[in-house]
Amino acid sequence: MLTRFAFLCIAWLGFAGWATAAEIAAPKGPVILTVSGKIANRNAPEGATFDAAMLEALPRRTTTASTPWYPQKTQFEGPLGAALLDLVGASGTVLKVTALNDYAVEIPLADLRKWPVILATKINGKPISVREKGPIFVIYPFDEDSSLYNELYFGRSAWQVKTIEVR
């Protein structure tokens, strides 16, 4: 009986471990990003919600580039958009990115597959507040591909990002 209980416990634990890998853990801190729409994995009714620590845990990249928004070369750091899409199991073609001020822009999902686009959470090594266009700033790899350096991609580079809807 004891052994059977132990077996069940182990099985449950194993199952739970597997289930955790497939599902997204619940955010422990304040939610700064919500991904909704055509996604496979959710941790809340409205979709997949993330706090700063969860985003911090994803594969990251640092992009150092001149941008129209800052007078000098700036270092942007944050999780890769593609990693986030993989985590949530996105299956659409377009991302509707909405900012805190309800500014919304549509980004083709393919952009995130084609380039290492990041959701920057740090500028010059420091987390960014809302006053500094935080907490999330979509940054294309301007340092890597000069063809991105125009209004189209500046426009897609939304700041103060609040939600992403996969369509």
């Binding site: 007078p71 001020n101 809302v130 266009k133 500046f154 700041w159």
Partner: protein
């Protein structure tokens, strides 16, 4: 010329100026493009962040903040308070745009905007303490009221900023557009000017091309005219050459007659004065012929129509001919001719070599009065024949040597008068030697003699075969038997040929044209035909072809012509002639032809007796002139003195009788002729004049059978008999001789 050069220079300057202008315009266009590019980049930068959009966002965020603050005043809740904080943070984040570099760059000139933007930013930053105060006090009525109090003027401020920014933006846009339009206009003007100047360049080039084409056409016309002129000149030269050739040919024909007749007359008896005059005629004729040959040679050389017949031959043959002929001439002048040559078979044109030697040695002999002339031949390395002709004559002045080999140049008129000649000799030599690949030169000291030299390539050179050196000298027969047809339209030429042939014992028939010749050849069995080339009705060549077509393939036909060129020889042989002989015909040439072409049975050899000596001819000679057996017997019977007396009496009688017989034959008095011939036959037989007797008998037999009697042969036989017995030639015989000759003609 100067006037014509100027437009060209102007034209060139114009082109240069246009090129300069085009270059300048090109630079302007480039600069304009570059400026447009810069402008475009600047525009790109300015639109990176739309300032109007930023101003609008700012205004909107102020209004949104005001709305949530009013909501918070109406009913406090922590969510609403967080919302206010967020809205303020967003508004705060917008203030950086107002002071950004781009913003300042763009509106730096507009003091209103700068002032407003700075004021709005300061107000927003000052609100931070009020927003922070919301967190600490609850319910935070005081800070909310203060915030609302702050937000109302801020809203007015941002609204005004939005309006002003929008206006400024519009103004800038209009200004930009104006500048852009101006730039495009400038570009357009530059392009138009550039196109215009390019068009002008094209026009100028077109004009240049037109001029070039006109010039080229002028040159073409000029060159065509030149070519036509050259052709006319060449045609003139050709016509002259043809005229020269024709004339020399025409002159040679009567000259042949003169030379032939002189040759015949030399054999007859004459007084010393007559002989001297005949000699002068003969010399003049020879000189004239030489001159004409020179002219003909020269014209042929000039027109390049000379054929060379290169073959291997013995140098000794040529040298001995020159030694014989020129030696005699030198001897006449009392000078000595030395000839030296190595034994060698050489390869070149023997006729031309002989001509060269005759010319140079002849000149040397001509200009040397005392001393000697030396001809030295040697074979040099590289199979070259070197010939030197040295004399002790008058020499050649230094300054004259250059002109020496020029055409038509004799040293001076005096020499020309003294020695005669065309002055073509050395020019012909030079051209001949040039054509044969050799060189000619001269060295001389005036009054001390002259040395001419020339070299010719004569390879391959070989030693002459010893057999030919040991060969016995050929003996030319001087009496022949046979029947010869002479086809010749010219009566004098025919008379000469006929006379010579008859004197050599031949029967002669005459054909005045080619058609008759062909006809006679078919009807009578001739041993030989002498065929003139140029005859009326049918030429000698055609007649020869006709005769050959009749099947007379082996009948010897020898061509006679005044044109002694290889091309004529080839034409003769091609037409089927057996041989070819150049006129004038003399006894030597005639015997040469006969010896070569008459059948073996038609020749008899009897050495010509030296004048004044009785030929010790053998008694058993069938055709002997004199039967010494009979005469010996007679001498024994009637005594030598009587025989001599009878013989002496015989000559005038026989001469008269023969002439009478000839006259009677001519006039048709056959009985008179028969009587005379009979008498002659009898007396001749008695005296042992066997040939004369035989001829008289033959003539008699001919007359009796109604044929033409060959009285000429009879006269020849009489003369020969007289000569054989050493009888002096009575003047009577000579006059009779010429009469008979006319009859034969």
């Amino acid at each position: 010329m100067e006037k014509r050069a100027n437009p060209n220079r102007l034209n060139n300057l114009g082109i240069l100026a246009l090129l300069g202008v085009s270059l300048l315009l090109g630079v302007v266009v480039m600069a304009t493009f570059s400026a447009l590019g810069t402008r475009h980049r600047a525009t790109e930068e300015s639109v990176r962040e739309d300032v109007v959009w930023a101003a609008y966002q700012l205004d909107r965020e102020v209004k949104k903040l005001a709305t949530v603050v009013r909501d918070l005043k109406d009913g406090f809740s922590p969510e609403l308070r967080a919302d206010v904080t967020l809205r303020y943070d967003i508004l705060y984040s917008r203030t950086t745009v107002l002071t950004s570099d781009h913003y300042r760059k763009k509106f730096g000139q507009d003091p209103d905007i700068v002032t407003l933007a700075r004021e709005a930013r300061e107000r927003i930053l000052q609100m931070a303490t009020l927003v922070d105060a919301l967190e600490s006090s609850s319910p935070p009525t005081q800070p909310i009221l203060a915030l609302l109090g702050e937000l109302a003027p801020l809203a007015q401020l941002t609204e005004r900023l939005l309006n002003i920014t929008n206006l400024a933006q519009s103004r800038i846009r209009v200004q930009d557009r104006g500048e852009l339009t101006a730039a495009y206009e400038q570009l357009g003007h530059a392009m138009t000017a550039l196109i215009g100047s390019l068009a002008l360049i094209v026009v100028y080039l077109g004009v240049q091309l037109y001029h070039i084409r006109i010039a080229r056409r002028r040159f073409e016309r000029l060159s065509i005219e030149n070519a036509e002129a050259a052709e006319r000149a060449e045609a003139g030269a050709r016509a002259k050459s043809i005229f020269l050739a024709t004339m020399s040919h025409e002159i040679r024909t009567p000259l042949n007659g003169i030379i032939g007749m002189v040759d015949i007359m030399r054999d007859s008896s004459m007084t010393p004065a007559q002989r001297e005059r005949l000699g002068v005629i003969g010399d003049c004729s020879d000189t004239l012929l030489a001159l004409i040959d020179d002219i003909l040679d020269y014209s042929k050389l000039e027109s390049g129509a000379v054929d060379f017949e290169i073959k291997s031959f013995d140098l000794a043959e040529v040298c001995s001919t020159v030694a014989n002929v020129m030696g005699r001439r030198a001897e006449d002048k009392g000078i000595v001719l030395h000839v030296q040559h190595p034994p060698a078979m050489i390869t070149t044109d023997p006729t031309r070599l002989r001509q060269l030697l005759f010319n140079l040695v002849g000149n040397a002999v001509k200009f040397t009065d005392t001393g000697w002339v030396r001809l030295v031949c040697s074979i040099e390395a590289g199979n070259r024949l070197r010939v030197e002709v040295e004399d002790t004559g008058i020499g050649i002045p230094e300054e004259a040597r250059e002109r020496l080999f020029q055409d038509f140049s004799q040293l001076d008129v005096t020499i020309n008068r003294r020695f005669g000649g065309t002055g073509l000799g050395l020019a012909i030599c030079r051209r001949l030697i040039g054509s044969l690949g050799g060189e000619i030169g001269v060295s001389s000291r005036e009054e001390r003699g002259t040395r001419f030299w020339f070299t010719l390539p004569v390879g391959p050179v070989s030693k002459p075969q010893p057999a030919s050196e040991l060969a016995p000298p050929t003996v030319t027969p001087d009496r022949f038997v046979g029947r010869v047809l002479v086809a010749e339209d010219n009566p004098i030429n025919f008379a000469v040929a006929s006379e010579l042939l008859q004197r050599l014992g031949l029967q002669v028939d005459h054909a005045p044209d080619g058609r008759i010749a062909a006809h006679l050849a078919g009807a009578t069995a001739y041993d030989l035909i002498l065929m003139d080339m140029q005859m009326p009705l049918m030429s000698g060549l055609e007649a020869t072809r006709a005769i050959r077509e009749q099947g007379l393939r082996d009948l010897p036909i020898v061509g006679l012509t005044a044109n002694a060129f290889a091309s004529d020889r080839e034409a003769c042989l091609a037409a089927g002639m057996s041989d070819f002989v150049a006129k004038p015909i003399n006894r030597a040439k005639m015997t040469g032809i006969l010896a070569k072409w008459l059948p073996e049975g038609g020749r008899t050899v009897a050495r010509a007796p030296a004048p004044g000596h009785v030929d010790p001819a053998p008694a058993d000679d069938g055709q002997a002139l004199v039967d010494h057996g009979i005469r010996g017997a007679l001498a024994r019977e009637i005594g030598t003195d009587l025989l001599d007396e009878l013989t002496r009496q015989f000559w005038p009688d026989a001469t008269r009788s023969t002439a009478e017989a000839a006259r009677a034959v001519q006039t048709g008095e056959t009985d008179v002729a028969l009587r005379e011939l009979h008498t002659l036959k009898g007396v001749a037989g008695t005296l042992g004049f066997r040939a004369f007797e035989a001829d008289a008998r033959a003539a008699e037999a001919a007359l009796r059978s109604g044929r033409d009697a060959d009285v000429t042969a009879l006269q020849t036989a009489l003369l020969r008999t007289m000569l054989a017995l050493g009888a002096g030639g009575p003047g009577e015989v000579a006059s009779q001789d010429s009469e008979t000759m006319r009859a034969a003609g």
